[in-house]
Symmetry: C2
Subunit: 273 residues, 2 copies
């Protein structure tokens, strides 16, 4: 079952949840959007025009054709423990969590009346909260789904995202490399610079570039590390190995030239896709 959406419930109306709501509206969604969040957040979301009304989770879920979980990962896991009893049979439950294996496993155990399809829009920005929400946040970005739902896929297309279907394990393996490792490299560099404040005095654009991510708050990352530890361990090991290779070959001209050329090509392709 995958009927047309009339009522969308967004649990966690921050940057991602708020942007999804605004993107639906901009793409022509004419139904009702209910927000579930703290009083301050729902107030901001109402003022921002992201949601039509705010309700407690159980009431919002009972009306919904789809429940969109855009909370931190640990909160999504908690919500999955209680939401199934609140939804009507066949209700789609989806999420926007940054890791998928733990969430899909939990949903497999708890979601029986509803149907769960995991999701992860590969989008974001520095500013957080519904104040920073943006109807175009998902445009041209990958949007991973761990399963199929015709109506959800239709809206992902309408909001301008590029759908990528992956199972949860494969998703977590890939984002360990392209999302979690970049964060840890940035944090590692910034923490080394913290040990050498005199060096910061001569920092140019390169250091600024590579440490931008290091300003990310840890509270987002705690859940990512605890739910994707195995894959992150593997990519950290790969990164250490690659840095060791660079170290050993620093003055082997042909080797370094080949590594730089291959890296530059991959970096350029990242920008075209």
């Amino acid at each position: 079952m995958s009927g047309e959406w009339r009522v969308v419930t967004v649990a966690g109306v921050g940057l991602i949840g708020g942007s999804f709501a605004l993107a639906l509206r901009q793409a022509g969604f004419a139904g009702k959007i209910i927000g579930v969040s703290s009083p301050a957040t729902v107030q901001a979301a109402l003022e921002r025009g992201a949601i039509d009304e705010a309700l407690p989770l159980a009431e919002a879920a009972a009306q919904a054709d789809v429940v969109y979980l855009a909370q931190p990962i640990a909160r999504i896991l908690d919500t999955l423990n209680v939401i199934d009893g609140a939804v009507r049979p066949g209700t789609l439950i989806t999420d926007a969590g940054s890791t998928k294996r733990a969430i899909v496993e939990r949903a497999g155990k708890t979601i029986k009346r509803g149907r769960f399809v995991g999701g992860h829009p590969m989008a974001g920005k520095e500013a957080r909260g519904v104040e920073a929400a943006d109807a175009n946040l998902f445009r041209t970005r990958p949007y991973v789904l761990t399963g199929a739902d015709a109506e959800l896929e239709r809206w992902i297309e309408k909001i301008g995202a590029r759908m990528v279907k992956l199972d949860a394990d494969e998703h977590d393996r890939r984002v360990a490399l392209v999302s979690h490792l970049p964060q840890l490299l940035s944090t590692a560099l910034a923490s080394l610079i913290a040990d050498h404040p005199e060096a910061a005095k001569v920092a140019g654009p390169a250091a600024a570039d590579l440490t931008r991510l290091a300003r990310s708050p840890y509270d987002i990352w705690r859940d990512i590390f605890s739910t994707n530890a195995e894959e992150i361990d593997l990519v950290l090991s790969d990164a250490i190995g690659r840095l060791q290779t660079l170290r050993e070959n620093l003055q082997v001209d042909s080797d370094m030239q080949a590594i730089f050329a291959r890296a530059a090509e991959a970096a350029s392709q990242l920008r075209q896709s």
Copy 2:
């Protein structure tokens, strides 16, 4: 001796040399700027208004009150082997090379009639060549000098840069951390992503951010690696150790929180300085 400049010779009129010439003009330099470069480059520099005329090195050096070497490092080392015979006694020779120890050592052996002060403006951008030159490129950026010269220091201030005096060893130690390590981290990440093209399909802004530097052409880096290998080896070793620490503590909440907080603070300070 440090007289007022009437004739400035810029050897290597690319992004940095061209920007220095344009910055001098914008800051009120009323003398003559002579460019020394390949025929195509001097033509572009003349059209860009960066230089007043073009001459071969020996003729340009003979007229100059200051010779500004903005070539690649290996070319600067070559130029230092021949320039001293061409300049008038007391002429200031300075450079903009990305490493300083090898250059200052070479100048110590070869510059006798002239006086050498090493320099390194911590500025740059993706585009190269005099076409991308910008009179404001050095504004608010650190500009390292390895020695003293009143007139040079006066112009560095006038073009809006922040002068930092360091000996060559200390410069090379600091830039290994804040310039060379960021490049190698970016190259390492991009080269890992090159091994996993399927992962690139779900890359978001984090991967784009961290791999921007990886597109830098190797020809710039060859000279940096060969003239700063020892310091780069040390910072690569530190980076590997830090990544190992992150790996071992990935799920030790209090440790990771402390590392993230310290890194975020350093990253924020980099942006204020």
